[in-house]
Symmetry: C2
Subunit: 428 residues, 2 copies
């Protein structure tokens, strides 16, 4: 006689619908694999009447997700509402307080409230699981928290925002400007209601800081992450990078240094031969480096109905199997608070700047770089006849701090028409 | 007050030594992450006196792994002896009978005795875990059994033997013959005592059949796997594949068909642009396809002290955390016995054959192919002045059965100097 596990699902967008399909279509398989009958007691969403392509008539309806989360016939509250606070947070808190397990796909909520929620869940003895919050169907949370748990993680890198990946790839292949592709993505419905969540790197950084917490045993620290969006990338940058043997990707890097935790989410140049460079559209990739395992790479769809629902049901199945481990892999009350720092690791940088059409402008840039201790590996300015054509510089390896000083010195000269675009080159 | 989990480790080769280092160097981290103090009670190996670079003086010594496996102060028996039967199997059976959990890196033992051992372990209520048996540090067993458990897996493909990968890559980059590189690998200590385990595809197939059992809910069936080694691959094959846009890899493919389970481990041509083609040396890659998740790719070191020990300690930590799920992801007594079949999926094929220097030889080959229903996409014979130069053929997509009939017909004509080399082209 199989045990039973009853879900309450709040949020019936693509992921919620995908989850319902899996549970309706694969009930026997889920029972076989978990020894537990997994069922849905109740659902909640903004509109009860909407046709979602799945039959939800058998499930109780709740207008209020908090009421859903605390129902007697709900063992696991599945939070697919989204948003870093509001109903998602209220219902999650209510579920934990009522002794319900929680499975969520909500990276924003966890990035901002993860520590408090983890403490509450562990106090209550319930699971709070979030595989679906990071990189869709890729089992990265499980891999980090369990499979690779015997490692001291040294660094994690990843491309984790499909929209940015789409925009950058589309600019390159279609030769379109950022604004044109942005508008195209908007028409296609690829952008969040607040597009800055995607193109500003915020969504991807939400994911990165969750990985940091697990990898380094630190409290989730979104405020400590350094963010830079893709809005200043031009088609010239993409072309120039290509000619130099690179592609531009919105890359997240987290690593623990001697002085603190460095978390960055920024557009970077990566070699065309790197697996990271070869990602198209919505594919995500995460590179984990551990002291024993070396480098492990995981790749898969970072979003979408099926992949994200796959992650949610995986978490539900773990709960059905009785697995209960700390939210971030060690008890939340043992997670340390690490100072946020920028890594001191040196790298080459790509610089684009437009100079005023005046004699000696280039010399002033060269002098500013040299005085700051930044040496130039290669430099070009196409269309020499047009003095306003952008100047593209690849530096020898240097630290971000040194480079920032050089950029400031260039700005002080007044020869640059706009603040230079600076992109780190990650040779991986 | 942390709980405790005491290990008995049998086999002190590289993996055993790696495991001891992790436990000695990271005791606090392991305790923090599992809430359990993980310690070593006793060890066993062939030679007690040998200097292995780790201090084992604090551990009891057992000459007999069966005695080790059944000690009162051992909770988990870690089997790193190797070999499909003999002491490894005897000690594993003894451990299970004595109510001990087992963690093993032994793919051969599980490929041949996995079903019986899983039944015994589940009867006894103990864990039998084997992340380290497949693809070293890549958490593929956990991903399949847990993270992706909500999927109907449709296909798994993988490059899972570093030695074959090394040989094929080295032949290509150094322009050396198979025999030369084989000897080189032998000198470097890369080969098993029985090299056919590697170059015959046996070791890789051992891994593949374990993945099949989890993916398809079937009893481990090594006898049903179709194996072909890399011993007939020549430098000409590698060069010809390269000129056609492919690289040759020992590729495992497992999929459930309407008529049964197809498991193949064979050298194949894969497009140079495929991530599989870009693997070097000891790097493994596994591609999992599921109905919800789509395609997930995992890449990492497939062998070696650190990566394999990382997988072993991951399993140990799961046991410390109280996780106990069925060995192959569903109860062993529910695993089905599926008939072994060859997939009917059509693909193009690469054929190399050397013809006798006689008039009409090529015409006879063409006729034999056409009569069997195999159509030629492209064909070449370099050095037309030398009639004995190999003929290279790429066919249009056809089934293996059709192709085999054509090859038999070619052999009957007697114009081929040797049995043609036939390699499947996998466009992935």
């Amino acid at each position: 006689m199989a045990k039973s596990l009853r879900l309450g699902i709040a949020g019936l967008g693509t992921v919620g619908v995908g989850l319902i399909k899996i549970i309706q279509d694969n009930a026997d398989m889920l029972t076989m694999r978990t020894g537990t009958s997994i069922s849905i007691s109740a659902v909640s969403a903004r509109s009860a009447g909407k046709d979602r392509g799945v039959d939800i008539a058998a499930y109780a309806w709740e207008d209020d997700p908090v009421a859903l989360a605390t129902r007697d016939d709900v063992d696991v509250f599945v939070e697919l509402i989204g948003g870093d606070a509001g109903p998602a947070l209220a219902a999650t808190e209510a579920a934990i307080a009522a002794g319900k397990h929680v499975v969520t796909a909500n990276k924003a909520m966890l990035a901002l409230h993860g520590q408090a929620l983890a403490l509450a869940a562990e106090d209550a003895g319930v699971n709070l699981r979030f595989e679906a919050a990071v990189a869709g169907g890729i089992p990265i949370i499980k891999s980090l928290t369990e499979g690779l748990a015997g490692n001291n993680i040294t660094r994690i890198m990843g491309v984790m925002n499909g929209t940015c990946n789409y925009i950058l790839t589309r600019m390159e292949t279609a030769g379109l400007s950022y604004d044109e592709v942005f508008e195209e993505a908007n028409q296609l419905g690829y952008l969040e209601a607040d597009p800055n969540l995607d193109v500003g790197g915020i969504d991807a950084a939400h994911k990165l800081v969750l990985l940091s917490a697990i990898a380094f045993g630190t409290q989730v620290d979104f405020d400590g992450a350094v963010l830079e969006g893709i809005g200043r990338i031009t088609i010239e940058d993409i072309r120039a990078a290509g000619e130099m043997g690179y592609r531009i990707k919105l890359l997240g890097v987290t690593q623990m240094t001697d002085t603190g935790l460095s978390q960055t989410m920024r557009p970077c140049l990566v070699p065309q031969s790197s697996p990271l460079a070869q990602l198209d559209g919505g594919t995500n990739m995460i590179v984990v480096e551990g002291d024993s395992v070396g480098q492990v790479v995981l790749r898969g769809a970072g979003a979408g109905e099926g992949p994200t629902a796959s992650a949610v049901i995986g978490d539900v199945m773990d709960i059905a199997r009785g697995i209960n481990i700390p939210v971030f892999g060690q008890p939340a009350n043992t997670l340390k608070s690490a100072p946020a720092v920028q890594t001191a690791v040196e790298s080459p940088f790509y610089i684009r700047l437009n100079l005023r059409d005046e004699a000696g402008a280039m010399a002033q840039v060269s002098t500013a770089l040299a005085d700051a201790g930044v040496s130039i590996d290669r430099m070009r300015q196409d269309g020499q006849q047009d003095a306003t054509a952008p100047v593209l510089i690849e530096t020898h390896p240097t630290s971000r701090q040194t480079l920032n000083a050089a950029i400031k010195a260039i700005e002080v000269t007044g020869v640059a028409i706009h603040s230079p675009v600076v992109l780190r080159i990650e040779n991986l």
